[in-house]
């Protein structure tokens, strides 16, 4: 059973990428929708398997490490696999209706979409540094392609900028990987951490970790390396923006977090941990501030991503030389933040896409009166906004609560201010949109009504973000499942 699930999970995206390469947009859409179904089923199956029996190492094709590719299938990884399935399906479904099939270059949407999905799964499950690199590259390149599909000159400029940033990040990461290989003679994360447990930390490994984390921070758009993100996410088609903000930036963060949690305690140091937390705080404040000042709706949402990503980097100080309990709280909080932001931000971008479609303009001012004509999409947007403001009962709130507890519990009270201020600032930019759309404007009475399915999808995602808050304990239980270490080299 596991064999089939793993095969389905890893094989379908690649196979479908090739398949859709051969078709036009409409056929690609049909093929994709079938593929989405398969992916959902296998992701759910794998999640249930792990939820029942605990995690395991999986040697691809029967080859174990160090020869073969070894995958680490634990509770966290399968949760993210499932999250990817949910968000990507929603975006794929939305894109099939949203994207204009007449433009010839749009047929490349589907292969890129599937390559992206393949890369994401590879990253969630990857067990060694080089495979993670390959996964990240696959993600970056297809993401850049997707941004470029926007078709306008601005989209090309944004995608080139994105490409340069991604490549630079990859380069730094790869350099770090090379250094690690030189020092430890293995690329397996488990192998390195096994080695570290037995031996004293070799000098210079700090540099390797710093390079990798810096490269990944650039790919995650950590302040002040975030400049590439808003143009790219803002100008891409709405389903693409949703994918990028919800999942793509999380992939590189996930790798950085895995590295930190495995090696941080022995290789990292307090200054680095605090610095990363500080940069994250900077992102929260500066990103939200800029989000408040944007004139374009999608730019607001994009800058909000910069801010929300900032919270994730509180993981570093809150897990470094603190008690077991605090570290667990912080990890749980960050995990919830990743999931809830993914769901809420995807919902928000898709809903924003609907609003833009309806009023025919990307400007915030143009939204006047839309509350009467498109209340449903506006409601999805606001519901997602509630999660971003981290107000109860959403997933964002559960995350913030755990992070608050971790900050107070570890005596690092300065992060409390960031968490609270971040919530208020995000309320400012969300309500700015709300305010603009509640305004009654007698002149504009021309509204285009998007297809019903376009309106339903963001609502589903927003409701999931909301429900996550109520169910967060159950979700976190799966992640804390025992992991059988037998495959560890």
């Amino acid at each position: 059973m596991t064999l089939w699930l793993m095969a389905g999970l890893l094989f379908t995206p690649l196979a479908w990428a090739v398949l859709t390469l051969l078709t036009d947009f409409r056929w690609g859409r049909l093929v994709t929708w079938a593929g989405i179904l398969v992916q959902i089923l296998v992701s759910l199956g794998l999640w249930l398997t792990v939820a029942e029996g605990g995690g395991f190492y999986y040697g691809l094709g029967g080859w174990d490490a160090p020869l073969g590719i070894e995958l680490r299938v634990d509770g966290l990884a399968v949760t993210f696999v499932l999250l990817t399935a949910v968000v990507a399906s929603a975006c794929g479904w939305h894109a099939g209706v949203y994207i204009d099939p007449e433009k010839p270059w749009h047929r490349y949407f589907w292969p890129l979409f599937w390559f992206l999905w393949a890369g994401l799964n590879a990253v969630w499950l990857g067990g060694d540094l080089f495979n993670l690199y390959v996964g990240l590259e696959l993600i970056s390149l297809s993401a850049v392609g997707l941004v470029a599909l926007g078709g306008k000159a601005g989209a090309l400029r944004a995608s080139i900028r994105y490409l340069l940033a991604a490549l630079l990040g990859s380069l730094a990461y790869l350099l770090g990987v090379a250094l690690i290989y030189g020092q430890f003679g293995t690329l397996s994360i488990a192998g390195v951490s096994f080695w570290l447990a037995e031996h004293p930390t070799p000098t210079g490994s700090g540099l390797a970790l710093a390079l990798m984390v810096a490269g990944l921070a650039l790919k995650t758009a950590l302040f002040p390396l975030h400049q590439w993100l808003p143009p790219a996410h803002g100008i891409a088609k709405s389903p693409v923006s949703a994918l990028l903000s919800a999942l793509v930036v999380k992939a590189s963060f996930y790798v950085a977090a895995r590295l930190w949690l495995e090696f941080g305690e022995s290789i990292g140091n307090l200054a680095v941990a605090q610095l990363l937390g500080l940069l994250g705080s900077g992102a929260v404040v500066w990103g939200s501030w800029l989000a408040c000042r944007q004139q374009q709706l999608k730019q607001v949402v994009a800058y909000s991503s910069v801010a929300q990503i900032g919270y994730l980097f509180l993981l570093f100080p809150l897990t470094f030389s603190v008690s077991e309990a605090v570290s667990l709280q912080a990890q749980q909080g960050i995990t919830l933040q990743v999931i809830s932001h993914a769901l809420a931000k995807a919902a928000m971008f898709l809903a924003a896409g609907n609003l833009i479609l309806s009023v025919g303009s990307n400007r915030v001012d143009a939204l006047a009166g839309v509350s009467r004509f498109l209340p449903f999409s506006l409601f999805s947007f606001s519901l997602a906004g509630v999660s971003l403001m981290s107000l109860p009962p959403t997933g964002g709130f559960a995350a913030k609560w755990l992070l608050l507890q971790a900050s107070l519990g570890s005596g690092q009270w300065w992060w409390v201010g960031v968490l609270l201020a971040g919530g208020l600032l995000s309320a400012t930019y969300v309500f700015r949109i709300f305010r603009a759309s509640l305004r009654e404007n007698p002149e504009t009475d021309q509204f285009y009504h998007p297809a019903r399915s376009l309106e339903v999808i963001p609502m589903i995602l927003a409701l999931l973000a909301l429900g996550l808050g109520l169910m967060s304990d159950q979700v976190l239980t799966v992640m804390a499942l025992p992991f059988e270490e037998e495959g560890a080299p």
Binding site: L391, L404, R435
Partner: protein
């Protein structure tokens, strides 16, 4: 789980599901929407009555599950909870009836009634919350669901008021969250419990407890409109009259006051609050707010703004009442939670009637309105006399009980505050009554409408009269069982001898 466990959930769900249904219903489905609204409100009232009876006999209603690791979501019905839930259930029904008439033929009604029900669902949640975490959950939900009501008209002024409202309440919410999280770190997950949790608190955490208390009161004080955090309330008056009525009588302002009661009684406990020296400063603050609100009300020319400042003053009666150490004064404060709600909603209904029927907004336009609208004016008069504290109306019961309590608690200065506040109440209400009944109308009304036989639409006419009658009854029948006063005494009895 048994039926008793589910009762609070049902009570919550009636308004929540009503809200969802209303959102989905088309804008034109006027009859169906009204039916859903009134049906849900009636059902909720029945559920609450059943639970009141159950709580009186000592049945434990409650449900709990772990929501976030380390914290539980708890719904629980105790005597205090039922007091607030009962208030919200009764007033929801009345306000819904009123709002149906008030918003006849205006746009965006589906949105309005959807959020209106959501707002009541939040209020019920606040009432039934069993710990601070759950309380906070619904407290923030209330903020979000009232915002669209405040800005309902979509005018520039409404949007500005909405922004002020959000700045105040969300900041207050952030402070509240901080204090709840901190308290959770210091003392763990604290269920609301009669007598509180800190009877024998470790002296090492006393300082933290005091700071946390200040933060809690600051966070809750925003909604309770305690000076100097009251700035949003008069501005929020741009909202439609039913919203103002609900906001003042039960939802927002009361949620803050109720939260402070919960903190003092069921988290800290009345005795520990007193020994930590927390009650005295809070009492001063409340007393100051009482006077301040009345003084500001004197200077108002707009009727709704005057009522808003009157609320600022009246809500602090509740806070002052619970700060009087002793069962009598406490009962006086608690009972005002209900009394103020009933009286204030009467006044707001009447203000809405004058505005809708005659186009009157300012006080100097009210000359002679008593002859044109005798029913409404009668209700207004009863409400105003109640606020002043004339016997045997609801307000008198409050003030009398509080005064007796203040003497018992050796806080004689409170008597002076009560007297001064009553004089001020009289000073701003009596001139209005004089205008209503004893002056000639100044000619044409600003914007008059006619509804046939009654002085105004029947939907608008009956609710204020009903609440006016209740204002009289709760005063006259205060010593009967299940009157607000007896219920408040039951709560206090359980708090002082847990």
């Amino acid at each position: 789980m048994t039926l008793t466990a589910w009762m609070p959930v049902f009570a919550l769900m009636t308004s929540f599901i009503a809200s969802l249904v209303i959102f989905v219903l088309p804008e034109k489905g006027y009859r169906l929407r009204t039916a859903v609204n009134l049906g849900a409100a009636l059902m909720k009232l029945v559920l609450v009555i059943v639970m009141v009876w159950g709580v009186f006999r000592g049945v434990d209603y409650g449900v709990r599950f772990t929501m976030v690791p380390g914290v539980e979501f708890v719904l629980k019905a105790d005597a205090l909870a039922m007091m607030f839930a009962g208030l919200s259930a009764v007033l929801w029904l009345l306000t819904t009836i009123y709002a149906v008439g008030y918003l006849e033929d205006s746009p965006n009604r589906s949105r309005f009634f959807g959020f209106f029900s959501l707002c009541v669902a939040s209020t019920t949640g606040i009432a039934l919350a069993g710990n601070l975490f759950t309380f906070f959950l619904f407290y923030e939900m209330l903020t979000l669901s009232t915002y669209p009501l405040v800005v309902h008209r979509g005018t520039e002024k409404a949007l500005r008021a909405g922004r002020t409202y959000l700045i105040y309440t969300l900041t207050g919410g952030a402070v509240l969250l901080l204090s709840i999280a901190w308290l959770h770190g210091v003392a763990g997950d604290l269920l609301f419990r009669e007598g509180g949790h800190f009877i024998d608190a470790d002296p090492a955490i006393h300082t933290s407890l005091i700071i946390i208390f200040i933060l809690l009161v600051a966070g809750l004080g925003v909604k309770a409109a305690v000076f100097p955090l009251h700035g949003w309330l008069p501005q929020a008056m741009v909202a439609p009259a039913p919203v103002s009525a609900l906001l003042h009588a039960v939802a927002v302002v009361k949620a803050g006051a109720f939260g402070i009661v919960r903190v003092v009684y069921n988290v800290y406990g009345i005795t520990p609050s007193s020994t930590l020296g927390l009650l005295q400063p809070l009492a001063w603050l409340a007393a100051f707010t009482m006077i301040y609100g009345s003084v500001r009300a004197l200077a108002q020319v707009d009727l709704k703004r005057l009522l808003a400042f009157s609320t600022v003053s009246q809500v602090s009666y509740i806070i002052l009442g619970i700060c009087l150490f002793g069962p009598v004064g406490a009962a006086g404060g608690l009972v005002h939670l209900l009394h103020q709600g009933i009286m204030k909603i009467t006044l707001f209904f009447c203000a809405g009637n004058y505005a809708e029927t005659l186009g009157i907004h300012r006080i100097d336009e009210m000359d002679g309105a008593g002859r044109r609208m005798p029913g409404t004016s009668l209700a207004f008069t009863i409400g105003a006399f109640g606020m002043i504290g004339a016997p045997p109306l609801a307000g008198f019961i409050t003030k009398w009980t509080m005064g007796t309590g203040a003497l018992a608690a050796n806080m004689d200065w409170v008597i002076a505050v009560l007297v001064l506040s009553s004089l001020l109440n009289a000073a701003y209400f009596l001139p209005i009554l004089h205008r209503l009944w004893f002056r000639e109308a100044q000619g044409e009304w600003p914007n008059e409408r006619h509804w046939g036989r009654l002085e105004t639409s029947a939907w608008l006419f009956w609710p204020p009269l009903f609440t006016a009658v209740v204002t009289v009854l709760v005063g006259v029948l205060a010593s009967l069982p299940f009157s607000p006063l007896s219920w408040a005494e039951l709560i206090v009895l359980r708090e002082y001898s847990p």
